[in-house]
């Protein structure tokens, strides 16, 4: 196989032709096919900056206010059922980002704050990732993008760290569930929004998503890219 990296300059765009691959016997069509479609982006309003850069169809995750009894749970189920019904896409990005996450010590976090910081994102992530995987076409890729504090900066971010770890494992579950369709599921984690630089790293985020959405890694799934090199 000969590979000519003629378009690597466009590596920060999801619509890039990832590599110009010279045809050769035995090369899977899935690898030769360039990423020519914009991804379907399933995200909350807080992720609108990411959505804008990725382009493509957008499916907004509703802003649901769960109480401790999860009274609004049926509304999430309805949204999930409606979302699953949409057309499939070769690339799907899921970004369930809460608005303005702030660190809080456990001792200062009452139950309603806990539900808002941990249980609401958890429920929405579970629904959105499940729906996103269903919307992913055979042979396609799903990339989730989640806030995650750097491990040494995790104090005060208990709820967010719990959600990030849960999303990691949800992704692994979905990678196995949809493996028979050759759907690959990846995760990008970033401390940027938690570290107070929500806009300064969008370029890096988009680049990481583009990398994982490309067709170059057909044997790679359940990969986690943590953007530990983001500027502070």
């Amino acid at each position: 196989m000969r590979v000519r990296c003629s378009e690597l300059a466009a590596l920060d765009a999801v619509r890039l032709r990832v590599l110009t691959v010279m045809p050769s016997a035995g090369l899977d069509e899935a690898i030769r096919r360039p990423m020519s479609e914009s991804p379907l982006v399933i995200g909350t309003r807080a992720a609108s900056g990411l959505v804008a850069q990725l382009g493509g169809e957008t499916c907004e995750v509703p802003a649901v206010a769960l109480d401790s009894a999860w009274s609004a749970g049926p509304a999430i189920e309805e949204w999930r059922a409606a979302t699953i019904e949409g057309p499939r896409a070769s690339g799907v990005v899921v970004a369930v980002w809460p608005e303005s996450p702030r660190p809080v010590a456990l001792a200062d976090q009452d139950l309603s704050q806990w539900v808002s910081a941990m249980e609401v994102p958890f429920a929405l992530w579970f629904a959105a990732l499940g729906a996103g995987a269903e919307r992913c076409a055979d042979g396609g890729q799903l990339v989730a993008v989640v806030d995650r504090a750097d491990p040494k900066d995790a104090a005060g971010w208990g709820a967010e760290t719990a959600v990030a770890d849960a999303v990691t494992v949800m992704s692994r579950s979905l990678a196995e569930i949809h493996r028979h369709r050759s759907v690959r599921v990846h995760l990008v984690t970033s401390p940027a929004r938690l570290a107070g630089s929500p806009n300064g790293t969008m370029h890096e985020l988009v680049g990481a998503v583009a990398l994982l959405l490309s067709n170059r890694g057909r044997a790679i799934t359940s990969t986690v890219l943590h953007l530990s090199g983001v500027p502070r």
């Binding site: 941990m118 249980e119 992704s171």
Partner: protein, 254 residues
């Protein structure tokens, strides 16, 4: 903390299975072991077993997802024994071993997983923390191999077990200055929940044990409980934020 003075430990979900094994293993330390569970007859029976094993078995009714119930349980421990040196959160949703397709999970069922495992960890930590600071105590949260690798059939269970690992890492950072440690144990054990899961999925036994180094599940009393006892002991005073795999080497992490 076990080793400095007589330990006083609260174990949730201790009316059977892995929780019972932990309670009985802790009996060897000689102090009070509070069997926290919703079911009084089964919980009291385990408390009696703790007595027989050399500890001081006590039962306290506790629904870990209910703030008032958790507060009452912790208060009962401190009122009777004067302090609380450790909490072990083992309780999981009764739905844990029930196979389900991820897109079909109802929010009601998902909530049950979250409330017992994750909110339960939060509520226990909130109520216990001042007492653990006073004793420079420790907390252990029970996770699972599924909390690393995910699960095709038990996706909600896997997700909440991952979440508690995240809590432990974050709280270890947060509590270290107060001398309070928090760790996780990921057991692979013979338990009623495992038996239910294997009954529901005939291929599970082969998948779990087919390439297991020892070819067997762990015993809750002799294989899992001592690992928790170690983490609560002075011997583990420099260990926090960690997850110990008590799985016979079944799931290699590196």
């Amino acid at each position: 903390m076990i080793g400095n003075s007589q330990p006083v430990v609260l174990v949730t979900g201790a009316s059977g299975g892995v929780g019972r094994g932990i309670a009985l293993a802790l009996a060897a330390a000689g102090g009070p072991v509070w069997v926290a569970a919703r079911r009084r007859p089964e919980g009291q029976r385990v408390a009696d077993e703790v007595d027989a094993a050399g500890g001081l078995g006590r039962f306290v009714e506790c629904d870990v997802g209910d703030r008032g119930s958790v507060a009452r349980a912790v208060a009962a421990v401190v009122e009777r024994d004067g302090r609380l040196t450790a909490v072990v959160h083992n309780a999981t949703s009764g739905l844990s071993p029930v196979p389900v397709a991820a897109p079909a999970v109802s929010m009601e069922d998902l909530r049950d997983h979250v409330v017992v495992s994750v909110r339960g960890s939060y509520l226990l930590a909130r109520e216990a923390f001042p007492h653990l600071v006073a004793t420079r105590g420790s907390m252990v949260l029970l996770t699972s191999e599924a909390g690393f690798q995910g699960s095709v059939r038990l996706a909600p269970y896997a997700a909440v077990k991952a979440a508690v690992r995240g809590l432990a890492r974050a709280w270890a950072r947060e509590w270290g200055g107060d001398g309070v440690r928090v760790n996780c144990v990921a057991p692979l054990a013979n338990s009623p929940a495992m038996e239910m899961a294997m009954a529901a999925d005939p291929t599970l036994a082969e998948r779990v044990l087919g390439r297991h180094p020892f070819g067997r599940l762990g015993d809750p009393v002799d294989d899992i409980g001592p690992v928790v006892r170690f983490l609560l002991s002075e011997d583990a005073r420099y260990v926090t934020g960690a997850t110990i795999m008590a799985d016979g080497g079944n799931f290699p992490i590196c």
